[in-house]
């Protein structure tokens, strides 16, 4: 059983469209992180959210942490082919990070 459920697992959309990826859990996390991973490389941190209800923006990417600190979302506006990649959410529990299954995003020109 996955502690963090990410959805969708696969998403293929056209350039210019908007999209949202969800990360849900029944557990509370002290913080939640979003990573992006390119083929053949390790994941790279995009953002960390700490406070319930927190919203962070990174250019066209908007990250939100749920009020109860159990879930998060990543919204991309006007997606571009350069956004293609594997997106991973990860929740901190003590000194461990628990990862979701990942969302493989493909943006078609």
């Amino acid at each position: 059983t996955q502690l963090l459920e990410q959805s969708p697992q696969f998403l293929s959309i056209q350039e210019g469209e908007n999209l949202t990826v969800y990360c849900n859990s029944s557990s509370v996390f002290s913080s939640l992180q979003w990573y992006r991973q390119e083929p053949g490389e390790g994941p790279v941190l995009l953002v960390t959210v700490v406070t319930g209800g927190e919203v962070k923006k990174l250019k066209r990417l908007t990250f939100q942490f749920g009020d109860a600190r159990k879930d998060s979302s990543l919204h991309i506006t006007a997606a571009q082919p350069g956004d293609t990649g594997l997106y991973l959410c990860a929740g901190a529990q003590g000194q461990k990070l628990v990862f979701g299954q990942g969302t493989r995003l493909t943006i078609n020109p």
């Binding site: 996955q2 963090l4 990410q6 697992q9 002290s30 913080s31 939640l32 992180q33 053949g40 490389e41 390790g42 994941p43 790279v44 941190l45 960390t48 959210v49 700490v50 991973l88 990860a90 901190a92 003590g94 000194q95 461990k96 990070l97 628990v98 990862f99 979701g100 299954q101 990942g102």
Partner: protein
Amino acid sequence: DVKVTQSSRYLVKRTGEKVFLECVQDMDHENMFWYRQDPGLGLRLIYFSYDVKMKEKGDIPEGYSVSREKKERFSLILESASTNQTSMYLCASSWILGTTGNTIYFGEGSWLTVV
């Protein structure tokens, strides 16, 4: 820049062989981690260490052991490799994770194939 270096990018080993995966970090981080990544399963924690000679089992420790003799180095050992251990292995390090959500830094990964 933080650097987490995994010694081997690609390995092919035979069933039953002993396999060592080495990882070195240059930021004096307390925490070091070994994950494996498989399609559809995300990253699963094998072992982590929060100090020299200290280790804790993660979610899937069976078939693996670890060694942390020096702060900067964390080794993953497959005592007797099996085909179901074919995977991408990721090493990572971090400061002590606090409520500020410290970053975990990953190496580039080691692709292990057991035949």
